[in-house]
Symmetry: C2
Subunit: 233 residues, 2 copies
Amino acid sequence: MVMESTAAPGNDPRPGRLNRRIVVRAALELVDAHGLEALTMRRLGQSLGRDPMALYRHAASRKDLLAGVVELVLEELEVVAEDAHWQEQLRRMAHELRRVCLLHPNVVPVLVTGPLSTPLGLRPTGTLKPLEQILAVLIGAGFSAADALHVYRAFYGFLYGHILNELQELIADPDENEALLRLGLQRLSLREFPHLRSLAPELMEYDGEHELDQGIGILLAGLGQQLADSAAR
Amino acid sequence: MVMESTAAPGNDPRPGRLNRRIVVRAALELVDAHGLEALTMRRLGQSLGRDPMALYRHAASRKDLLAGVVELVLEELEVVAEDAHWQEQLRRMAHELRRVCLLHPNVVPVLVTGPLSTPLGLRPTGTLKPLEQILAVLIGAGFSAADALHVYRAFYGFLYGHILNELQELIADPDENEALLRLGLQRLSLREFPHLRSLAPELMEYDGEHELDQGIGILLAGLGQQLADSAAR
DNA sequence: ACCTGAACACCGTTCAAGT
DNA sequence: ACCTGAACACCGTTCAAGT
């Protein structure tokens, strides 16, 4: 592995005084620029012009640092206006999360798997903010607390899944993509993968924003319908 | 970190001859038992009674090993019968993937983020098998190739998202859970998290299987409806 | 030709020694 | 009391030296 130059270009390599915010922000920049693996205490220390050990004053561990990075990314979410129908508000929230995730694709793996097995109550407040926000919208729209929770789960489940899907289909170099795809698909045996092999043209065009919008629309319509039914019963 | 005993209990620590299958299976056992971080070349070599370097004969790298582990887990998927309605077949596939993921929760993070930015055509055939299978069901049910791909994406998106959600709510010790949850929620400020704080009782009971079934039902109904509409137009 | 294991270039984190 | 950096206990992987 090749070592990068001492500091990220355009960044003061030696800010006057360190605090958690500065450290976490530098960590995010490292991850954005060079991937999750590049985030090591040593490299981060180097990019801040400090002894790596100095970082432990502002983050308990590498894991804690990653949790901070996730929180920082979620802070970039713009709050959607409250004047629309609840379905429209949720739809906008979905697009907003998608937008932020596409800005920080390297963070997404920790964003979606990060809090695994961390009890909900103990998660950083930054990651609970979106949950509270959605609950507010739904309860404000007349849902019971229990129903709001159901809608939240289905909504966020679909949203996370879509983002993972989209990132998987996102290729660094779109020019290379077509050739690579065709080559890759041809490698597959026609007997075992007849349908997949025939899908090359369709796989080429993927409109993540549209796909997300469609899916959310279907889901919200179905959820609204189901809840209306159960209310009428 | 404490070192485990030389071999996993009940496992022959020194199989006669190594091959990829044996190596990958041992890797899966290590991950199941002790988590992803426990999968190191050195520990795996130790659990097989071999020099760690011997593993490189059967796996190109640790990453390759993890890809093999994911493939192995997906091989545990039982193929669903082909005699039901396509929606029912997809529903069963969803439950089947959920079942296997819950058997190997430690593998799920690599399962869902593993192929990130690996072009679809270059992924291991084991991970493409479920995709081909779903396409077969949908095209067999009369969908066009393009529509089948849309349904697949929405379906798998939701499915992955649900599984991640469920694993996040799954707590190791359910007895401790309630106390921890209440404690955690009380930590939150009432001003910032009024709705979340009031949801403690609802958060306690989570039926992942039912939740998945509901979500899949809504999604499939919506997808079927949408596609019927577009066919009629 | 194959296999082994020493060695390299890293890790996160602890903790004793300095100020 | 605070900060530093040497040291510990690991990593994945390369490659020269053995058989």
